[in-house]
């Protein structure tokens, strides 16, 4: 049988309710990410477009979210614009919140942009959840050491 238990095959819980803002314009992807991230112990809030996510981010208290996961190639407010507005905001967590991007684009130019926008990591599509969660976990451990 296929399903979520094949993704998290050891039923390992890596996280303890850390909040993740997930932004993707594909409803199917959001549904999949919501299911998988919850199964790993995270608490995702899903948003189907950049402007909705942005207004929600600024509405919440600082440090409400521990991670942000964004699909780069979104229609309307795209991933880069969303990240730019978060990173240049005056909020205390604006510059430090770990931001990860998902992309189907493999061009080199993207990698330069990742540095420019201070993107913590990128996940190629199709999303490998183990890599994604290792990236999240790495940020968490790095944060603890700090």
């Amino acid at each position: 049988m296929y399903g979520i238990h094949q993704v998290n095959n050891g039923n390992q819980v890596y996280f303890h309710g850390e909040r993740v803002m997930v932004v993707d314009d594909s409803e199917l992807n959001l549904e999949m990410l919501n299911l998988v991230l919850r199964d790993f112990g995270l608490a995702p809030d899903i948003f189907q477009n950049g402007s909705l996510a942005l207004s929600h981010f600024f509405m919440e208290n600082e440090f409400y979210y521990q991670y942000i996961l964004i699909d780069l190639n979104m229609h309307g407010v795209n991933g880069y614009e969303l990240i730019r507005q978060i990173r240049t905001s005056t909020r205390k967590d604006g510059k430090s919140i770990p931001i990860f991007v998902m992309t189907a684009d493999i061009t080199e130019t993207n990698h330069k942009a990742f540095e420019e926008y201070n993107i913590n990591g990128h996940i190629d599509k199709p999303v490998n959840f183990h890599i994604l969660l290792q990236e999240f976990k790495g940020e968490l451990e790095w944060e603890k050491k700090r």
Partner: protein, 208 residues
């Protein structure tokens, strides 16, 4: 004016002279980018369908194989492709986009015809039209194809509203495709923004 694609009703005309420096690499870049996005997004969608136990998952894998085969044909060949092959790809592309964007309604009314088109060009046009309308309150696309005298008239209409985007980069892509079609098969492509959306029209001459 003779260099302009002269379609009286169309608001935007393509001046071929503007694109003297455009070489095949520019369009190839768009095609490769579309192929790349399509392949990895399709795999992601299939993965989602499997995880969420959607009944369409197995069919998606079969259809994906057909599309992958077509993509390899396109990569291998610089020739024009049969329009019927392009249509098969378009139909799979639509079903994949409908999985990603459940509210997307697509009306397909395309007559078969033994014409040849540059590979992936209709797909680029469709992908841009879908891209434009998925943020609209009503996500609608209509695709028609009809033989009219010596031409095959292929149209894509989408439901971008008055306030909807008319993205510069999308327009640039359309211009590249328009020029490429003109050079490759003497087809003329025009588009306009009207009150109900954006309409693209390609007049493709039938092969002799």
């Amino acid at each position: 004016m003779e260099h302009l694609l002269n379609q009286e009703k169309m608001g935007i005309l393509v001046d071929v002279g503007e694109f003297q420096n455009l070489d095949s690499d520019s369009l190839k870049k768009h095609i490769i980018l579309l192929q790349e996005h399509f392949l990895f997004n399709a795999l992601n969608t299939i993965k989602g369908a499997v995880i969420l136990r959607r009944s369409e998952a197995l069919k998606l894998v079969d259809d994906f194989a057909v599309c992958l085969r077509y993509q390899f044909q396109c990569i291998r060949s610089t020739d024009q492709m049969p329009f019927s092959n392009e249509c098969k790809f378009l139909q799979f592309y639509i079903s994949m986009e409908q999985m990603r964007f459940p509210g997307l309604s697509v009306e397909w009314d395309v007559q078969e015809a033994s014409i040849f088109v540059p590979p992936m060009c209709t797909s680029i046009l469709l992908s841009k039209s879908i891209q434009e309308c998925v943020t609209a309150p009503e996500r609608k696309v209509k695709i028609t194809g009809r033989l009219q005298n010596d031409n095959y008239v292929f149209q894509i209409w989408n439901s971008v509203d008055e306030e909807g985007v008319f993205d510069d980069s999308i327009e640039e892509t359309r211009k590249s495709v328009a020029l490429w079609w003109k050079v490759q098969c003497n087809a003329e492509l025009c588009w306009e923004k009207c009150s109900e959306g954006i309409l693209l029209m390609a007049n493709i001459p039938r092969a002799e």
